[in-house]
């Protein structure tokens, strides 16, 4: 394939991600929620000496996240039509990133989990470094895209190798002789991992995966990375990649190390308050649109951590739902910020204003994203946040109160973002800018917004799907919690 056929390359990418979206929807539809557990499994022995299997499968949690990823990837490929330079290489790296993330969500083997995890991180470097943009403030470059790219890659790899050390320690320390998560679950149910070993390994995994969440204080790569990345990459990055960390915490750290989780999750719950409050305040102070959304993402991931730190079915359901809702919301926000940047060539908030006149459609999407982000009823985020708050109330009362206060902060900066970009007096400089006009260009926005509204108005199917994955996990990890709740009822 030559560079001279960008349309062909684009069409292949759209077809590939479209097919994967269809496959993800099919997998979710055919997932038997009543049966629960891992379904659609595929098991091929890979490295038999070490007990490594090519083991794919999904439970309610990974099915939800795979669906989220498929949606974001499809929308991202459509948004990528704005890329005009070195198209073939772009899609090569972009599809590599997409397949890596799918691999993480579907792997049921620790080796392949790490394999795909790192495979998803590396393409970010060229994607940001080549097609990204420098962050400017009043015309002065604040961060170059190269700095952002290397910072992101190094932070995420550092987190990944820490987690790898944890995984290897778990493998060797328990004499497990397999990397297969399902076999490990069964084995640990019979012979639990020594409590001290669990307490030693858990922080390695929590910090390692916490880098990508991004857990405060390991978050500083994330807003810079979001800001520098091309919008389709930011969409995947904030929408899905950050969820990898939380998913890994659930699937590996909590699932395999229940005692470690009991010991250390309160610490995570305390750190995530810093995420919510500190991230929120920093987002308030930003003047670059992408930085606002970037800090807001790390603030919202705080709610996710709070939800999973509860170790209750309700909290975990809320965390996974929020991952889904926030993923869609933030993808929408980055997509429209990307459109604004493409048209106006600036993301500097004081320079923008009144764009709703020129781009009513994008403006409407911006308002929807802001409302969703602030947790307005009717959007998926509301349902998820409610779950988290109710779930967290019993165990982490102070943290939950702080988190509820975080919602107020969110609405402040999101409304500021909407007002400063789309409303106010029309600026003559932007008289020539265009809206997303063609149905094809509007498709990704419409898709994402419809999912947000749809899940928000009728969350039951998705909640049941998540619940079918979360309930058995909590039953296995924290049986006393389930018993306690049942007693209360």
């Amino acid at each position: 394939m030559r560079q001279s056929h960008p349309h062909l390359v684009r069409r292949i990418a759209v077809t590939a991600t479209g097919l994967s979206l269809v496959a993800a929807v099919w997998a979710v539809m055919t997932y038997d929620r009543a049966r629960g557990g891992y379904q659609h499994e595929l098991l091929v022995p890979w490295m038999t000496d070490l007990g490594i299997n090519w083991h794919l499968g999904m439970d309610g949690i990974s099915a939800t996240l795979a669906l989220l990823h498929a949606l974001c990837a499809f929308a991202g490929v459509l948004i990528s039509y704005a890329i005009k330079d070195r198209v073939k290489e772009y899609y090569l790296f972009y599809l590599l990133l997409i397949s890596g993330v799918f691999g993480v969500f579907l792997s049921l083997d620790l080796f392949f989990f790490y394999f795909f995890y790192e495979m998803a991180v590396i393409p970010m470097y060229p994607l940001i470094g080549i097609w990204g943009s420098d962050t400017r403030e009043q015309g002065v470059v604040r961060f170059t895209k190269e700095y952002a790219a290397i910072k992101l890659t190094i932070y995420l790899t550092a987190g990944a190798v820490l987690a790898l050390v944890g995984i290897l320690w778990l493998y060797v320390g328990t004499g497990a002789s397999t990397f297969d998560i399902v076999s490990l679950e069964r084995q640990f149910a019979v012979t639990p991992v020594p409590a001290n070993l669990q307490r030693a390994i858990f922080p390695l995994l929590a910090i390692g995966f916490g880098f990508i969440v991004p857990l405060w204080p390991f978050h500083s790569w994330s807003p810079i990375g979001h800001a520098a990345a091309p919008s389709a990459v930011s969409m995947l990055h904030a929408g899905v990649l950050m969820k990898l960390g939380a998913y890994a915490l659930i699937r590996i750290a909590m699932n395999l190390l229940p005692v470690g989780a009991q010991t250390w999750l309160p610490v995570l719950a305390a750190l995530c308050v810093m995420n919510i409050i500190y991230g929120g305040f920093v987002a308030m102070a930003q003047k670059d649109l992408k930085f606002i959304i970037g800090y807001s993402s790390s603030s919202h991931m705080g709610y996710v951590i709070l939800g999973l730190a509860c170790l209750t079915t309700l909290g975990l359901n809320g965390a996974v739902l929020l991952m889904f809702a926030h993923g869609i919301m933030t993808a929408l926000a980055f997509a429209l910020v990307g459109h604004v940047y493409d048209q106006c060539h600036t993301r500097y908030l004081p320079d923008l204003g009144g764009l709703a006149h020129q781009m009513p459609f994008i403006g409407a999407c911006g308002v929807m994203a802001a409302m969703a982000s602030s947790g307005l009823p009717g959007f998926a985020n509301f349902v998820a946040e409610l779950f988290v708050f109710v779930g967290g109330w019993d165990r982490y009362r102070v943290q939950t109160i702080c988190a509820v206060f975080g919602v107020v902060i969110t609405s402040v900066y999101m409304l500021r973002f909407v007002r400063g970009t789309f409303f106010g007096p029309v600026k003559p400089v932007y008289a020539h800018v265009h809206d997303a006009v063609s149905p094809f260009a509007r498709l990704p926005y419409v898709l994402l917004a419809l999912v947000l509204l749809g899940v928000g108005c009728w969350p039951a199917p998705l909640v049941r799907l998540v619940d079918s994955g979360a309930r058995p996990l909590i039953q296995r990890v924290a049986p006393q919690e389930v018993g306690r709740l049942a007693g209360q009822r």
Binding site: F116, G129, I150, V161, L164, W169
Partner: protein
């Protein structure tokens, strides 16, 4: 039959003579095509190696030499390295190149200037016949080292390899940098040879013989005096020089910068792998009972080697020098695997060596092919390589990331196995250092990739590659990917060779 065990070595000896005659008989203008003769020799050796009858495996020749699966594995690695090195030399001896250069020079006066400076810096290989002859003597040394069962043979193998490398390192004898490289290598190499001989003599004093069998018996029988222990550590130091282990690594950066690229490839791949093979032979084959003495020393040195190599690579501005530091880092990982003193560690080292061979050779082949076109070895010369030659840039990308240990490439599996074996041996701190070094190394490899992919090229002239180079580059890339994804068959083969 016992002599027949040595038949691969005999073929190599014969080919040394063939090359010598070839150099005499081929008229000077056609000498550039001697690489074909050399490549034919490597292929012939490969065929002989492949045809080794199964029933010969495990047989010895006079307590000196053994032909087991271990030997066959490392012999194949050495042969593969030499074959790749011969392909790299094509660019330095190929007769087509001066004319291309001339044509370029006529097109663009500025280019002519840079080409002229580059010609002085890079230089083509004079006397290709002699060069290939030396390459084959080095190969002979590596082949012997893989089979060694006697300390004296160890010395002979090591010196055969090192002497050839002394000359090859200073091969461009009119250039000050090359002379400095050769001199440094010679002096430090001689010191390490001194260590080796002293160590051997101490061990001889202990056991009364230099063969591994007698040494094993003596160690099993009775207390090992401190003189013999010192002898062992001296031998480890001498082999540490070969693999560029801290603190015997000081020659690496200067030699890598000054020597011709194919020689550097041989140094960093062949010489290192042969050193590792010898170390495994000595430490695992003979001194396993004294594991308490050497394992901790090696573990400490491995950590220092990794840190020194990877941190030292960060500020480099010359790609060969950078790869020199990176090769020190990789020596650290290999030592880490050896320090486990376990069969899992040996298997990991074997796999790591294979992955390292493929990835590093791929990178050096890119450097050798690109050097004349981009004008030199400075990192700046690689700016915008992906616009000038997508293939070279892609292979550089894959090779460097495999060296860094990124899935789905071969280097990742090698690193994972080494870390796993080290974790198994209970050294959590070493695993931590090894894992963090992955991050450090990724940083400077990405800095090279940044130049190749992110920055704009200084010239838009596409780089033209010949068919064989193209094929080799693609084959290396495919091998790195295949080994990284379908690990089991390779792991099994390595396991057969290295887990007795």
């Amino acid at each position: 039959m016992s002599w027949a065990l040595l038949r691969i070595e005999f073929v190599v000896c014969a080919w040394i003579i063939v090359l010598l005659l070839g150099d005499l008989l081929v008229p000077p203008p056609r000498k550039a095509s001697l690489w074909k003769l050399a490549l034919a020799g490597a292929v012939a050796c490969g065929v002989v190696l492949g045809l080794t009858p199964i029933e010969w495996i495990g047989h010895r020749f006079q307590d000196m030499f053994v032909l087991d699966r271990f030997a066959l594995y490392f012999k194949s690695l050495s042969l593969l390295t030499v074959g790749l090195v011969i392909i790299m030399t094509r660019h330095l001896t190929a007769s087509g190149r001066p004319s291309t250069r001339l044509r370029l020079a006529q097109d663009d006066p500025q280019q002519a200037l840079s080409v002229k400076t580059e010609a002085r810096l890079e230089g083509s290989l004079p006397h290709p016949g002699a060069f290939y002859m030396l390459l084959f003597t080095a190969l002979l040394g590596m082949l012997v080292l893989a089979s060694v069962q006697d300390l004296l043979l160890l010395f002979i193998g090591l010196e055969l390899l090192t002497f050839s490398l002394y000359i090859m390192a200073a091969y461009l004898k009119t250039e000050p940098q090359a002379i400095e490289a050769g001199m440094k290598y010679l002096i430090l190499g001689s010191v390490s040879a001194g260590f080796l001989v002293y160590g051997i003599s101490l061990l001889y004093g202990f056991a009364g013989d230099t063969s591994f069998r007698v040494l094993q018996a003596a160690i099993a029988k009775g207390p090992v005096p401190w003189t013999a222990q010192a002898g062992l550590l001296l031998i480890v130091a001498a082999l540490g020089f070969k693999v560029a282990m801290f603190p015997f690594h000081l020659w690496v950066p200067d030699v890598y910068q000054g020597a011709p690229t194919p020689v550097v490839a041989l140094l960093s791949v062949g010489s290192k792998i042969a050193g590792v093979a010898a170390m495994l032979r000595v430490l695992f084959g003979v001194f396993m009972p004294l594991e308490g003495l050497w394992a901790d020393v090696l573990a400490g040195l491995a950590a220092a080697t990794m840190l020194y190599g990877n941190l030292g690579a960060i500020p480099q501005t010359n790609i060969k020098r950078l790869l020199g530091y990176s090769s020190i880092g990789h020596a650290g990982y290999l030592m880490m695997g050896i320090s486990t003193a376990s069969s899992a560690g040996a298997q990991a080292v074997g796999f790591y060596a294979l992955a390292y061979l493929l990835s590093n050779s791929a990178v050096f082949l890119v450097i050798a092919s690109a050097a004349s076109a981009v004008g030199g070895d400075s990192l700046e010369a690689y700016n915008g390589l992906s616009r000038r030659s997508p293939l070279l840039a892609a292979v550089l990308f894959v090779g460097l990331l495999s060296l860094a240990g990124v899935p789905p490439l071969a280097g990742f599996v090698g690193k994972l196995l080494v870390l796993l074996a080290t974790m198994d041996s209970g050294r959590l701190w070493l695993v931590m250092i090894g894992a963090l070094n992955v991050v450090v190394s990724l940083y400077y490899y990405l800095m090279v990739i940044r130049r190749a992919y992110l920055l704009a090229p200084s010239s838009s002239q596409p780089i033209v590659l010949d068919g064989l180079t193209r094929l080799t580059l693609l084959a290396l890339c495919a091998a790195i990917l295949i080994i990284g994804v379908v690990q089991q068959p390779f792991l099994e083969q390595v396991g057969l060779a290295l887990r007795p």
